[in-house]
Amino acid sequence: MNAPAFSFSAALPELFLSLSGLALLLFGALTGEKSYRRVAALALIALLVAAVLVLFGAGARSVEFGGLFVVDGFGAFMKALVLLGAALGIVLSLDYNRREELERFEFPVLIVFATVGMMLMISASDLISLYLGLELQSLALYVMAAFRRDSVKSTEAGLKYFVLGALSSGMLLYGASLIYGFTGSTNFAAIAGAVSGVVKSGAPVPLGVLFGVVFVLAALAFKVSAAPFHMWTPDVYEGAPTPVTAFFAVAPKVAATALLVRVLIEPFGAIAPQWQQVVWLVAVLSMIVGAFAAIWQTNVKRLMAYSSIGHVGYALVGLVAGGPGGVSAIALYMAIYLFMNIAAFSVILGMRVQGRAVERIGDLAGLSRTHPLVAAALAVAMFAMAGIPPLAGFFSKFYIFDAAVRGGHYVLAVVGVLTSVFGAFYYLRIVKLMYFDEATETLDRPFPASLGAVLAGATLFTFFFFLAPGPLVRAANAAAASLFPG
């Protein structure tokens, strides 16, 4: 048995980031507790360097490491988003962690390792590498959710996430073993060959495969927090420290969505009509839950949790629509979602009354009078999330529904539009609070500079996206095309 020739350069960003993580861990352990700021800065640099490596390495599709690892345009696009999200997550955490005395160097290190896991997920082309990437990411996230170990809420969040995450991992493994039993391989290409062989022969798709797909799908739906596997999301988002919530809402969401897309399209593309039925239902349920359950929330982090559930529902619509058009719409959706969420969370992280962090929605009342710029930026983010033109959020929804209509999924598009309308209610309620209600307690001034800078950047992107949607749309199209060779 000869060792296969490995092309390490294909996984250069991942290798670089893992080694950086190890080095940062050593550095932090040697310099002690005071090193948080330096470790965070170095982690930020490492993430950005990895993003550069990803973008420069983007090229033709190639499968490496004996079929475990795939490099393609789709992966590069999604990895770039994940790295950007992780980097912004670190920037957003700086101020909050300083004030809340969470300045421990393990925080950025965990973000780095979680990001490595996400990149591995995105590049997985084998059920085994898929599972390991997922676990690497999840384990780091469980710890991060419980990072404020002296807070009951935070530890509860971590534990809940961990227990339910373990359940979903179990489902994933069960589904994977069913699939392995059917095809005799864990490799995506081999699975695809076996599945399309059955479909071509005209025989009905074996129930075992469908069960396997359902289990895998359920596990991944848990990771992207799609209904009915979403129940952990509000509790964990509320309980985890706010910077962790911000990170949760961005990077893992993008990575898990990418993984879901890849798993369903690469190995199981041939039975798309079958899995689309389930994804259809998941998308509809998520959109409905996202639109309705958020309405009574009073905690802004819970609200964002439901908002993210709704957004995942919209993204999944693109998966039902299928084809390069649908996938490109998803890629675009996740990119814009990232910016909108970063903007929203940079405001939430800056919410403080007399030095202590607050997270009730009512605390935003009268923001326009004390912080006019911040209020305007949050209003832009909320309008964008509600999908109001000409903001970026409108375009992301537009491309999704356009793909759905092209695919003939009119019901889905109608449900999507209706739930957008209902969802707009709670987004606009925040705008109303900020602009028309009187504050009982005003938020502190000044707004932290690091949050302000991120907020400004994200808001400008959301606001002016309509001027030049071209580059991003083209990138998303190219990314989607790489999933459909030939």
Partner: protein, 201 residues
């Protein structure tokens, strides 16, 4: 024939002990039944010719994990009866859902269809004279090197997590710092004070 008997014996005992893990009143008994289940699973692995996995199961799960459970259960003194209070209340719905799933899985298992050619893919060719452990080692360090490294990272993260969540620097605890001990000199350790007679310190 003997193989079949052994299989059903081990499998039957395993399922029975798994049920006992859930239903035993005494938590220590639960853990002991868990250990029994592990042993039977190891025996099943042996029957399949996977002696390496069997040994790993015994060493890791029985030797480390289950014993750890035992310690935890005995030290924490959790009232498991209280935890199981809702058991009967949820049993009808939960049981129904479980039964549906079980029935479906049984049906799927009975009507199992393989994809064409999967038998070739699945059949791990045993090279002559290469035993199980050696073959696994070869695969893990060559073909699956990437995921092997990744699982290393997973374990590292688990370790970081355990430290992050539990390690505390308590003030007031005296620790030995060898570096400081060794770098002490006479000048830093001894202060010579000249005291005039009859003045006190």
């Amino acid at each position: 024939m003997i193989q079949a008997i052994a299989f059903y014996l081990f499998a039957g005992v395993m399922i029975a002990s798994a049920v006992m893990v859930v239903s035993a009143r005494n938590p220590v008994h639960s853990v002991l039944f868990l250990i029994l289940a592990f042993f039977n699973a190891a025996a099943l692995f042996v029957l399949l010719g996977a002696e390496f996995l069997a040994m790993i199961l015994v060493v890791v799960y029985v030797g480390a994990v289950a014993v750890l459970f035992l310690f935890v259960v005995m030290m924490l003194d959790i009232n498991f009866a209280l935890l199981r209070e809702g058991f009967m209340r949820y049993l009808p719905v939960g049981g129904a859902v479980g039964l549906v799933l079980l029935a479906e899985l049984v049906f799927v298992g009975m009507a199992w269809i393989d994809a064409a050619g999967s038998a070739q893919l699945r059949a791990a060719p045993m090279h002559g004279g290469v035993d199980n452990t050696r073959a696994l080692g070869r695969l893990i360090y060559t073909h699956y090197a990437l995921v092997f490294q990744a699982s290393g990272l997973v374990l590292l993260v688990a370790m970081i997590g355990a430290i992050v969540l539990t390690l505390r620097q308590r003030p007031g605890v005296k620790r030995q710092d060898i570096g400081r001990q060794l770098s002490r000199t006479r000048d830093t350790g001894v202060e010579i004070v000249k005291i005039k007679p009859r003045t006190g310190v």
